[in-house]
Symmetry: C2
Subunit: 514 residues, 2 copies
Amino acid sequence: MFKILDCTIRDGGYYTNWDFDKPLVDQYIQSMNQLPVDYLEIGYRSIAIKDYLGKYFYSPVYELEDLRKKSGKKLVIILNEKDIRVEHLNEVLGPVRGLIDMVRIAIDPEHLGRALILAEGVKKMGFEVGFNVMYMSKWKQYGDFIKELKNVDGIADYFYMVDSYGGVYPNDVIETIGLVKAETSVKIGFHGHNNLEMALINSLTAIEHGAEIIDATVWGMGRGAGNLKTELFLTVLNSKFGLPVNFNALGNVVNAFDAVLEKYGWGTNLPYMISGSNSLPQKDVMDWVTTRFYSFNSIIQALQNQKEKVKDNETLPVFTPEKSVKEVLIIGGGKNASEHAAGIKEFIKSRDNITIIHSSSKNAYHYKDLDTEQVFCLVGSEGHRMEQVFTDLGDFNGICVLPPFPRKMGTYVPSNVHDKTFELEAITFTDKFKDSHTALALQTASVLGAEKIYLVGYDGYQDFPITQKERDLTEENELLFDLFGKQSKEKLVALTPSRYKNLLADSIYSMIYG
Amino acid sequence: MFKILDCTIRDGGYYTNWDFDKPLVDQYIQSMNQLPVDYLEIGYRSIAIKDYLGKYFYSPVYELEDLRKKSGKKLVIILNEKDIRVEHLNEVLGPVRGLIDMVRIAIDPEHLGRALILAEGVKKMGFEVGFNVMYMSKWKQYGDFIKELKNVDGIADYFYMVDSYGGVYPNDVIETIGLVKAETSVKIGFHGHNNLEMALINSLTAIEHGAEIIDATVWGMGRGAGNLKTELFLTVLNSKFGLPVNFNALGNVVNAFDAVLEKYGWGTNLPYMISGSNSLPQKDVMDWVTTRFYSFNSIIQALQNQKEKVKDNETLPVFTPEKSVKEVLIIGGGKNASEHAAGIKEFIKSRDNITIIHSSSKNAYHYKDLDTEQVFCLVGSEGHRMEQVFTDLGDFNGICVLPPFPRKMGTYVPSNVHDKTFELEAITFTDKFKDSHTALALQTASVLGAEKIYLVGYDGYQDFPITQKERDLTEENELLFDLFGKQSKEKLVALTPSRYKNLLADSIYSMIYG
């Protein structure tokens, strides 16, 4: 009989930044005690990384002691080979001896040699050792990797094939197992991703061809499209092979993760299918999808470009305005820029040297007929939206600006406006969210040399309940306003109702008559 | 090259009761025009069924005319063989000649003979004919069915194997294709369900073994766990076989169904996995899951019982109270029964002949210490909840009532209260929602011969936004109050704040001092 390793907390941490409510973890441990699962992977252990990463990225000793007490299963942590060297092992693993049964190592096949040295150190400390070797669909291409495979015997207790892109099929599983078995007699494991809903059939195929350990997670929770679902795997093993399963315990742990699923919404979708199907890295896709900064369509476009190796990044002339402007009005996508459009237009007409910056084209049609100079920020798929807003771009007399070259999501500029389109040289006031609408608009205002910067249509979210994603976007804007404020002497003043506390508040109506 | 049939509107109708917003359908038609899909199945055609069923259950001519104009694809409708006879064909299909290219027939394999007669009629009217034959996992068991297979030649253009339970594996697909091919040379089709996430691999396997048409739906929308996802199938055909796919069109149609998915939330989950894996009908599971009347765990329990053929229905003594009571107080699960518990208890103590009926055990612990007679309605998993509420059932001195025998979801009675448990003889005032908490409570009140029926904790949903499911439950209660009112002279009086307009309103506080 093969073994089952559940890595819900470790791999699910990609969604929660490795923080989970303790009652949820306790429920998980308690349910798993009643289920035919052999190993539980609780998290990473790591040297300090300069960023906030949660509890189960470091898996502190007090937590492992608590879980050791509560769990009847073998406990596992994983190390990122790229971050950890032999000299770190005492610090990272010394304190968890006796608490942890197996240490897995996430390994890029290009660094198998280095990983073997690390693994030897881990093995000497008395742990079982699992190799999680990524990119199985590309192993054939690495000659050195294949030659080194024989050296894993005696060091690795399990040698996992990881379907990193989520794009392998049963035949690939069979072929790769053959490749490994030709070189070594190590026990083989399989960690399947579910981009193409192939995780179950690939896992069953792996078992049929001699794999001795399989990874799964509750609801498939895990990076990107997620993994083989523990509940699916156990249900099928029960009906196909008679494995005894306590379905009430299984139902309990699945239920317990319902709310987490609702909040983070992992699972496969078209962008993950495309990336999986074409062996494109899903790390980018996960960022694009979960922040929802980019529309589904622009993600698909970018993936398609990557896939077809279309050069989707062109260098544009750098935006260098000939003269400074006195005032800038940034028009955001909030509904107040549409509800107060008449007043905002009166305000614009009352100024003698003002430039409009549309951080989004969402409200732009209200301002089409103005003579004022207008700049459009084309982030992501904003070019497509612009085409929808301006049904005829023939008489477009604005200017478009894009983020600096090269752009992660490619360059889409409607052909009619191409000769009026520029890119910024750099985004200088922030390291985060550089390719957001707001960052682009603020930087443009700065390049324009504006003495005063007004904003309309930056409502913040006024209707409750707001979603996590809406909140993230609000927090992103807040941060950008703060960072911009630290570098510039110009104050940011909201002229329509706004919930952003770090904008000064005034009213377009007071400005018209003031 | 095989054909692709997209049946999103027809099969997705199981969730929407065959009503879809017209702009959504238009977007669907427009996107499909740009995608390599051959047939679109729009809905059912049917003789009149006595129940509200939406537009695409009847697919009226004006709608088909409109879609015919807008769509460049072959259009398909489906007939339920069980409802339609040859004599209905003129009425049902006459008006759609020239609009519809193919007529499919949903067929129980036990009625293949009867279906052949119907199909011949359809064929004579000039339509392509598709057979959608259900329960492919059981075909082997039907000797007559196998013998009749040769007769489909010349009548059926496509002969679909339908994985009704969503439980077949690639090997079963290969075996079943062999079974059919041994008897007939009809073109084979495959309609896969996704309970076990096998729809894609089963479809690919079917193609590899000669299937010539495959069904799919957007986001997999379809009865129960749903179908092969159109976007997954096309993405894989694109990367594996170079099928040209317009991913922007595909992204548009997937996006368009986002909101529908969010509302109805189809897709596989543990109950569907269990039913699929064990060839248990998913119609019941769909009802249980989507109305959420039953907890996940009680569904799993019921499925497990079905699977293990555990006799989970026991006949209990019929509830026949020795004497009538004057007044009944029904305590619901709303929070007002907990917030006003002190007042409600004073009210109870002030009455000389009142019986409490707990329609849910949710608030029961507040009333544990009263001497008053208490009846507990045990619907679905309510027995489990009761065990949680009363940590010690040893000194339980109430009475439990259950719905009449046999109970769809089985019988769960905590062992400590078994000798105090009864079942109702019948639910007489309603045909719908007979196994709901409220129906059980009202019927019990009626059996007790109460002259006055008060309710507390029937709040209705006071906090907005409410979910579809909450609304459904509210409407269900409203209907039950109405129906009960029609049969009984006793008025239903809510004594705590309630949004139910068909309850009379009074206050526990006025009753105490009144």
